[in-house]
Amino acid sequence: MTRNRLVFFAVVAALAAVATPALAQGAVAPKWQWLTFAVFGVIIGITMYVTFLAAKRVKSAADFYTAGGGVSGLQNGWAIAGDYLSAASFLGIAGLISLYGYDGFMYSVGWLVAYITVLLVIAEPCRNIGKYTLADILAYRNNPKATRIVGAISVITVSTFYLTAQMVGGGVLVKTLIGIDYEISVIVVGILMLGYVLFGGMVATTWVQIIKAILLVTASILLVFFVWLPYGFSLPAFLRDVVGDPKVQAQVATLLGDPAKNLSAAELGQRFLEPGLYFKAPIDQISLGMALVFGTAGLPHILMRFFTVPTAQEARKSVIWAMAIIGGFYVLTIFLGMGAAIKVGPTQIRAVDAGGNMAGPLLAQYVGGGADSMLGNLFLAFVAAVAFATIVAVVAGLVLAAASAMAHDLYVGVIRQEHVSPEEQVRAARIATVVVGAIAITIGILAKGQNVAHLVALAFAVASSANFPCVLLTLFWRRCNTGGIVLGMIVGTLSAISLVLVSPNMTYPSVVRPAQEKIVATQAASIAKLNGDLATAADDAAKAKIKAGIEAAEKAKAVAEGRLKDLGDAKTSIVGLEKPWFELRNPGLISIPLGFLAVIIGSLLYRDKRAEDMWDELYVRQNTGILAAKAAAH
């Protein structure tokens, strides 16, 4: 213990030493960065302590992968929320609401509704027949070798997409927020995550997620309390202020462009609460909704959480808690997003981060008393630290899911045909964790500067088109068999990936170049005009305002020029297309039915005696939980 603790402090000190000289300007002013580190240090300290306690309990593979099935429904509900509310959803959705109003809020609904699918058809059956991984469910009545291979490949694919998005997105976020260098933050996140998973396995991962979720919810409730208090907690009164705010009206006018000229200020403000400012393509919206409501049930790191509870009843309870927490959080984001829109202003939010990710943190700073106050910076530091902890918690869950597919399914299940001693199983799990962790850090650093936003969509697309049809049909359709699972996994994964590769998500130089060139030209013109104004400006105040305008224009011009430089001489996208061949950003509408169709056709074309013979056993067990409680008690 003492030696461990010394090692731990040495690692923390080393990380701090590496991080300090790499500080630059972020949303947190340099003067206050120590506050962020202090808060983050406390969070790390608490979670590391839990990890120490947990490490003593990790003796078997069951302990490592599923905390020995000893997590309660309430704990698991918080952990699911902690696993699911990634930085993209907790900073991103508040940001979308602050910039686009109604559409941002509408976007959050699908993320909650997804859990109805999980609750009704996935959580309890999986708890009743599963062990550690998604492939365990597929292998139950189908050919274990074949289904473990395709299942593991799909799990690793989905996790890698999600992981890359988290690492790269997280790195950028930490840089914007605290000013730590991108590479440093990727490495720090990677090492911390490895520390939790390696020593504490699922127990530590669970607690990191629980603690993070509690902090996130507490921070949000506090912020909303202070934002909503002046309105006597009245929704119409609050929204009246939102629609009457000149900053909001100006933002709507910018978004609408020419049509805005015919609208009065009051109409512009009200438009913020109406749909259509962000989502322009309804079919794409529906396709995204399908990927969310079916994909969540196929996300390996979410599925894995249901193996950590002892019974189907606890699995049920955990989804109920998760839905209460996640849904409650999204309802709060209305106030976070709209509050940021009126208190901070869309222009200010976009100035720090174009995607709006800083809406929540900036609101925290405002509520605490502003950029120059101690309390304001403490609030900001707190939110920044929670954001950092979030990335660690989500990445830990993903790495555990990928490592379990590698070690439990591929190594123990396929290569060694289950002939592995308990000690070796744990060792395999730890080695796989290090491998996945190293891959995550490497990809994170290599993918610097890449646009990874579509990778989350891709992860959901594969999960909904491959994992979900396979899991659902093997659980509920008698005729489903090995042929269907193998074909479904292959067709679902490939169709989702290839449709994204030819979709508008990719960069098309022939489309991007003129747009960016236009930005460069307009900004150059506006700089010239502002310079002219500067010469004739009446007083210092006017001059300062113009100078700020010039600075903003130069910044925008530099960004566009950077994009043009990145494009180079390229004329086509990665797969050699001049323009998107498939118009939807989200392939779900096509790839989910294809995935289901492939499972059905594959099953009908293939004959598999085992799948038929085992059906009664699987179906009775998934419905009743016979033997499940006993198995968990071992």
Binding site: Y102, D103, F105, M106, V109, G110, L112, V113, Y115, I116, T117, L119, L120, V121, E124, L235, P236, A237, L239, R240, V242, V243, G269, Q270, L273, E274, P275, G276, F279, P282, Q285, I286, G289, V293, Q313, R316, K317, V319, I320, M323, A324, G327, Y330, V331, D616, E617, Y619, V620, R621, N623, T624, G625, I626, L627, A629, K630
Partner: protein, 109 residues
Amino acid sequence: MADTARIDWRAIDNDPRFQELHRRKTRFLWGLMVFSLVYYFLLPIGAAYFQDLFKIKVWGPVNVGLLFALSEFIVAWAIAWYYSHRANTEFDAMAAELIRDAEKIGGRK
């Protein structure tokens, strides 16, 4: 898994009590599933094709669209509550009976 061999799964599957559980659960689950999907997809469909309806103000600046989006949360929670209520009181009891008799049904092989 040594226990699985001692249970006659086919016999349980054919047991009227299991058949009843299966029948009730299937109808309930898929009915609820279809309802929740329809209700959810009404939101993006309404936001895209029924904007005039969504824009009607009902409570100060609060419009139909906003209330409908909020109702999605209420409905999702209500479905979750209703499902767990039925499962806790009805399905669990039926399953418990089968678990208790699991090794007896169909006689030991």
